[in-house]
């Protein structure tokens, strides 16, 4: 069952070196026509001319087809559609994303968009996978050298500039799973404080009135606002902001009904 590892090319010539020299000479003749080098600053692999099938016959193994669409390079951020949900920052394994305030939000709830430190980013693409609105995605741009360390920190505006340059973006976007966990309410704990509804980036939480129970004799009703959040699961992006702002820890992840 073991494969034969007998040398397929034995040294046949008495004087030694004919085969390797013939091989090198064949390569020499091949590459006289066109070596497989890409003259980089002038030719680029992402150019359309390299988007061909591998040219086995001519001996130039350059390019194996449309390889570039999926490449993970610099991010592009569409500030206009960003909902400040923080999901990118939470999903970053390298903690290179910081949410910074950008103009456009109201003073009470400032709009926050990701600022990415490319000195830390490992280009894993988890953030763009996590982005519920598709506003953060990865382009194929890779030239990022700079003499200044501080220039490697891309502010949201700079990321938006990348977006406006209409670079090719990763085409493969992941679908939302069918049965997704959703946020549920532990109703007896709720005090109706409106924090979740106020901070929800997609405004999918509405506060509805709950009937105030009548107090039994001797029982003291809790001091609370008699409202409860109702979460619209189809609009919810599952960012968990409401859970983190809830003062009573009454929101939690539950399974889909």
């Amino acid at each position: 069952m073991a494969a034969s590892t007998e040398p397929k090319e034995g040294p046949n010539a008495a004087f030694l070196i004919v085969k390797p020299m013939a091989t090198a000479a064949r390569q020499f003749v091949k590459s006289l026509v066109r070596p497989s080098t890409i003259v980089y600053p002038f030719e680029r692999l992402e150019d359309p001319s390299f988007r061909e099938e591998v040219k086995v016959e001519s001996g130039h193994p350059i390019g194996v087809g449309p390889i570039w669409d999926n490449y993970r390079g610099v991010h592009a951020l569409n500030i206009a559609t960003c909902i400040s949900c923080n999901l990118c920052a939470f999903s970053c394994p390298d903690l290179c994303i910081e949410m910074v305030t950008v103009p456009g939000g109201d003073p009470k709830h400032p709009k926050k968009c990701p600022q990415i430190d490319y000195g830390k980013c490992s280009y894993c693409g988890f953030c763009s996978d996590a982005c519920p609105e598709g506003c953060l995605s990865m382009t194929t741009r890779y030239e990022l050298s700079t003499p200044n360390r501080s220039e490697m920190i891309y502010s949201p505006q700079k990321l938006h500039e990348v977006f406006e340059r209409k670079l090719p973006m990763n085409p493969i976007r992941l679908e939302r799973p069918e049965n997704e966990d959703a946020i549920r309410l532990d109703a007896p704990l709720c005090i109706g404080c409106n924090a979740c509804s106020r901070d929800c980036p997609t405004s999918c939480i509405t506060m509805v009135d709950t009937p105030k129970p009548t107090a039994k004799p001797g029982e003291k009703l809790p001091r609370r606002i008699w409202k409860e959040p109702v979460i619209n699961d189809s609009d919810c992006v599952r960012c968990g902001t409401c859970i983190s702002v809830c003062p009573k820890e009454c929101l939690f992840w539950g399974t889909h009904p």
């Binding site: 903690l95 200044n148 360390r149 501080s150």
Partner: protein, 167 residues
């Protein structure tokens, strides 16, 4: 996961039976572990006997890895062994008290345990008695900490200060 039908293969029951028979006191338990023949929990004091039996009687002649796990109060040492005869893995594990954790070295039985035990000593602070060369392997000499202990916490480094190169 291993396929059956080869010669010289033993089921997990046979292995556990053989172990119990040979080492009635040293072996504490024999558990199922998917992907292996099983997981043998043994008493740390009789480690060397267990190794000898596993190697020569059961035929597990290849030591894959030695690892240490810190369970705060006690530390676990795992030995993953493979038998060319049986074509499966066997996991040996033992627990020792975290205070002055030490166990007999497996190098007399499996020479390949050398570096594994050096690493386990410097990472999880388990001393291996009679180890031929117990010194630092991955960290510099004199490194005082044992990083893979649970009490050793990682933290973000302080902000970089970027020097300007003189022109």
């Amino acid at each position: 996961m291993g396929t059956d039908g080869g010669t010289g293969r033993m089921t997990s029951e046979e292995i556990s039976g053989r172990l119990k028979e040979k080492l009635p006191e040293a072996v504490l338990a024999f558990e199922e572990l998917p992907g292996t023949a099983g997981r043998v929990r043994f008493r740390a004091e009789s480690a060397l006997e267990v190794f000898r039996v596993v190697r020569s009687d059961l035929g597990y002649d290849h030591l894959s890895m030695v690892g240490g796990i810190d369970w705060v109060e006690e530390r676990e040492v795992i030995y993953l062994v493979w038998s060319d005869l049986r074509r499966n893995y066997l996991l040996l594990s033992t627990r020792i008290a975290a205070r002055d954790a030490h166990i007999e070295s497996a190098t007399p039985v499996w020479p390949s345990a050398n570096w594994h035990e050096r690493e386990a000593w410097e990472m999880v602070d388990i001393r291996f008695d009679h180890h031929p060369d117990l010194r630092h392997l991955l960290m510099p000499d004199g490194y005082a900490f044992h990083p893979l202990l649970r009490s050793f916490k990682l933290h973000e480094p302080e902000e970089l200060e970027v020097k300007v190169r003189r022109v």
